[in-house]
């Protein structure tokens, strides 16, 4: 079976805005969502830079039992999913009568775990953790909570693949629908944003320390980049078969046409050009497209010296002739980690719908590898028929997705 897989709903909760309209404006104007968290400095962080993400107010929207199990990232995911289901025209009465699945990327719930352990150490009594702690603490906190809240009856699990988690979640959802195993799947990625979550990452000196200029600190591909900035939130996409979307009268926003993946089989944290090239080529083969067919690449580029160098080299190895426009929206968002692979599909579809490429802000001077790419320094008016989005994670997990403007 080879079903067409379309996207009928989008939702976003990020440092660029709390809904699609706010995020569209931020992307178009090149607005940074980065700021300082002084609590991190008090905790001994090398860098206090972070994406500034609003906390959703759920009292009055969700009842106590539903709220109490939601971790921070699951709250973001709930808000993003609510928006996505609304614009996909999927109401609760329809969902309860149909087999809707959920595949979501998430790879930590450090705040919930840390606070629970602090309570146990202090109180010497596990009962005093309350009933919600376990549902907040497990890695599958997003899928276990949202499947309950939205009464989902299809596939239901979490994808943990470091900073490629959200991308692989969409890729797996695409394959399940393409192969006829499911008709409708809620896909996405979520990332907590708090001092518990990023201490060990900060300890690797991976973060930018350009603290005097927070909005200039994330500068993917720029030769003066000095590290990434952690960020987060959640992004949701509703994937479904073309037939299902037509049957429901749902708006078709775009089509997923290619998924490539690979593992580097190499170093645990260093990038690997060969692994990335294999992922890119596999996605193109799956989509039956040539490099010249790709109008825009949303790069993984996080603003680390080694990572950006490897990705620029990999992109150039595959796209050196056609040189499509490239930008890393992480220049505005920071690195949304487990969420990034999903949010960057949402950002790119917003660009596709509105005929522009968002700028790779702070790209002032290229290095030897990024000089070979066609990087959008400013917002560029552009008709996008096909885009590709890269996500790469620790352990050498690579994912590339290709999305096409929907045509009957």
């Amino acid at each position: 079976m080879n079903n067409r897989v379309v996207i009928t709903g989008l939702g976003i909760w990020s440092c660029l805005g709390n809904n699609l309209d706010e995020v569209k404006d931020s992307l178009y104007t090149g607005k940074s969502g980065i700021g300082m968290d002084m609590e991190r400095k008090a905790w001994g962080y090398r860098s206090g830079l972070t994406g500034i993400v609003a906390k959703p107010e759920l009292k009055g929207i969700l009842d106590r039992r539903a709220r109490i199990g939601l971790s921070e990232e699951a709250e973001y995911a709930y808000m993003a999913t609510l928006e996505a289901m609304k614009n996909a025209k999927m109401d609760m009465s329809w969902v309860e009568k149909n087999e809707v699945g959920i595949l979501y990327g998430n790879d930590s719930s450090a705040k919930a775990v840390s606070e629970a352990i602090d309570t146990i150490r202090l109180k010497k009594d596990t009962t005093l953790l309350g009933s919600g702690s376990i549902f907040q603490s497990m890695n599958c906190t997003v899928t276990m909570n949202l499947s309950t809240i939205f009464k989902l009856k299809g596939i239901n699990f979490t994808i943990s693949a470091a900073c490629a988690s959200g991308s692989h979640a969409i890729g797996l959802g695409y394959l399940m629908i393409k192969w006829g195993l499911q008709k409708h799947i809620i896909c996405g990625g979520a990332q907590e944003v708090n001092p518990f979550a990023f201490g060990s990452f900060d300890g690797l000196s991976a973060f930018s320390i350009r603290e005097n200029e927070p909005t200039k600190a994330s500068r993917p591909f720029d030769k003066d980049r000095d590290g990434l900035i952690p960020s987060g939130g959640a992004a949701t996409l509703i994937l479904e078969s073309y037939e299902s979307a037509i049957e429901r009268g749902a708006p078709i926003l775009a089509e997923v046409v290619g998924y490539g993946f690979s593992s580097n089989g190499d170093h645990i944290s260093n990038s690997n050009v060969d692994g990335q090239v294999r992922s890119l080529k596999m996605a193109l083969n799956d989509a039956h497209l040539e490099p010249k067919d790709v109008d825009y690449i949303n790069a993984h580029a996080t603003s680390t010296p080694g990572g950006d160098l490897a990705e620029a080299t990999a992109i150039d190895a595959v796209f050196s002739e056609s040189k499509p426009l490239v930008s890393s929206t992480k220049s505005m968002t920071g690195h949304e980690c487990w969420m990034a692979g999903a949010s960057e599909i949402v950002y790119s579809i917003i660009m596709m719908q509105n005929n522009f490429v968002a700028p790779n802000i702070n790209f002032e001077n290229p290095d030897e590898a990024s000089a070979k790419l066609n990087i959008a320094r400013v917002t560029t008016e552009k008709n996008i028929d096909v885009f590709l989005s890269n996500s790469f994670g620790f352990g050498g997990t690579n994912s590339s997705l290709i999305i096409k403007k929907f045509k009957k």
């Binding site: 009842d63 106590r64 039992r65 109490i68 009962t127 005093l128 309350g130 009933s131 919600g132």
Partner: protein, 85 residues
């Protein structure tokens, strides 16, 4: 802490945390049915009692609590015992 203060504090957290309508809280009303408590909610009741009154409820104690009045009396007794100690 007087019994009236204890009742006021209990009613406050039941309305605030358990989101029950204040007018449904009556001394002779059934606690479990009025609050819609399931097994998980009892764990949260233990937490909230501990944080408000400083003592730990053991599960067996709930067996003899059916009405709000039973609940007030139970908490009052435990608070008094704690004060005596």
């Amino acid at each position: 802490m007087t019994q009236a203060e204890i009742i006021e504090r209990i009613n406050h957290f039941l309305v605030d945390e358990f989101e029950v309508d204040a007018d449904k809280i009556k001394p002779d009303a059934n606690l479990r049915e009025t609050l819609g408590l399931d097994s998980l909610d009892y764990v949260d009741l233990v937490v909230i009692i501990e944080s408000n009154f400083g003592f730990k409820v053991v599960a067996e104690d709930f067996i003899n609590i059916s009405t709000f009045q039973n609940f007030y009396d139970y908490v009052n007794r435990k608070v008094s015992e704690k004060a005596t100690v």
